[in-house]
């Protein structure tokens, strides 16, 4: 096993919010089976995909993540019976919100991965990393003042100071 190591100009930062019963165990299985997958992903383990508050994803983008990955048990397999159904509804709307805001929804990936699907985990993560790498860096909320009226205020403040 073992893949050829490639060197890229841009390494995306990817946050993964995963369910502890399925996806985290799946990723664990991938690790104990010594499978290779992209090291760009930073995982956060949560009790259920229903626990993934859109706030987490907003915060991740705000703090400079280039992609966000969300994953949980397959429908019908939730440890808490229905958490992933709520997650599904929430993400349907959240993706549209991000799209309207101007963030490419390709940067948010949702996937069902069970504890036995270590191979799916590696495939999905590799493909997603590749996709985000092509999209490039997420537009930053830098400090540059763009609004003409705000510029006017800032200039006036500087002059009077």
């Amino acid at each position: 096993m073992g893949k050829k190591i490639e060197i890229h100009d841009f390494e995306p930062k990817i946050m993964a919010f995963v369910c502890k019963w399925c996806t985290y165990s799946g990723a664990d299985l991938a690790g104990t089976s010594r499978m290779d997958y992209s090291p760009n992903v930073r995982m956060i383990r949560l009790p259920c995909s229903g626990r993934i508050d859109p706030q987490f994803m907003i915060k991740a983008f705000e703090q400079g993540a280039d992609g966000v990955f969300i994953s949980g048990c397959h429908p019908g397999d939730c440890h808490y019976n229905e958490g992933n159904y709520y997650a599904r509804r929430r993400n349907t709307t959240f993706r549209q919100l991000m799209d309207f805001h101007g963030i490419d929804i390709e940067r948010i990936e949702f996937s069902w991965i069970s504890a036995a699907e270590a191979i799916k985990w590696t495939e999905v993560i590799d493909a997603f990393t590749e996709k985000v790498r092509e999209l490039g860096r997420h537009p930053q909320y830098d400090d540059e003042v763009v609004d003409p009226y705000a510029q006017f205020l800032v200039q006036n403040k500087q002059e009077s100071a």
């Binding site: 706030q55 429908p75 349907t92 549209q96 309207f100």
Partner: protein
């Protein structure tokens, strides 16, 4: 019309059926009206209703405000159609009980978008954008209504009332991002959009939480973005489109464009229109096994 409302309000107060009537009265200058709380029957002459009455009164029914804890058993409220939508949504969310409220419905022909634009009459130049295509000019849920209530078909899907939503959706992704960046540059986080919202009902808002501080309190663009996205996300499927957030914004940011877009999404995905049913559950606290999942890998 307003005479009938005044008489009914006087009757209610004299009989002790309600403790307070919330309505509109003349404001500080001729273009403005102000919300008024009437507790004595002789004061009902102060009540008025015309297109200047833009404030959303259901705000005062929200438990976040102290008014509901003043020992008032029953409140009468003057509601135009869009306000009654907000009341219905509050009842559907168990913020309020239907029998605590006596709704005095008014027939409404639209309101002005901003008090400054009032010039004695209502016309296309000063009409609020939410009033175009409104289907609750005759209110849908009332206890008292002056005159007859004609039947209105309210099954039509929700349409975004502002043309800007469609214009923005046609833009390229990075142009849209640039638009919001310019617009949010002006935001200095006064939270007026939160304070006027009849549906923001958390006792402690997430922006006021400090451990952990989820949303940066500084008026830096990072915090501004996350505040507006969080606000829009919390109102998905709950916003009834009164447009008060945009009107209250001192910097003229069109914060309700997010809400209007999300109303469309909720309508498309779950055929849910907030504010029309006392029983229907909010779409994000329920689910169907066969919900759409075309975006899930």
């Amino acid at each position: 019309m307003i005479e009938a409302i005044r008489n009914q309000a006087r009757l209610l107060l004299e009989n002790g059926d309600v403790d307070v009537v919330i309505g509109y009265a003349e404001g500080s200058d001729p273009s403005r009206t102000t919300p008024i709380f009437i507790r004595k029957a002789e004061d009902v002459e102060k009540l008025i209703y015309d297109p200047r009455c833009i404030n959303s009164l259901p705000l005062y029914l929200n438990k976040r405000h102290e008014y509901t804890r003043k020992g008032w058993k029953k409140t009468a409220i003057i509601g135009k159609g869009c306000d009654i939508r907000a009341i219905v949504q509050l009842i559907a969310e168990n913020q309020l009980k239907r029998d605590e409220i006596y709704i005095l419905g008014v027939p409404c022909e639209g309101v002005v978008s901003h008090p400054e634009k009032w010039d004695g009459s209502l016309h296309d130049g000063n009409r609020a954008s939410k009033c175009i295509g409104c289907d609750v000019m005759t209110p849908h849920e009332t206890d008292f209504f002056p005159g007859d209530k004609p039947d209105v078909d309210r099954s039509t899907p929700y349409e975004a009332t502002s043309k800007n939503v469609a214009t923005l959706m046609e833009l390229e992704l990075d142009k849209r991002f640039a638009f919001w960046r310019t617009d949010f540059d002006r935001c200095f986080k006064c939270y007026a959009c939160r304070e006027v919202c009849p549906h923001c009902s958390c006792n402690t808002c997430i922006t006021d939480e400090t451990t952990p501080s989820w949303i940066d309190p500084a008026a830096h663009k990072k915090g501004v973005f996350s505040w507006h996205l969080t606000r829009a996300m919390h109102l998905v499927g709950r916003c009834t489109g009164c447009g008060e957030c945009t009107r209250a914004c001192p910097m003229g940011i069109q914060v309700d464009l997010f809400n209007q877009r999300m109303k469309e999404v909720v309508q498309e995905s779950y055929s849910y229109k907030p504010g029309y049913s006392l029983e229907d559950k909010h779409p994000l606290i329920t689910y169907k096994v066969d919900d759409r999942e075309d975006f899930i890998k």
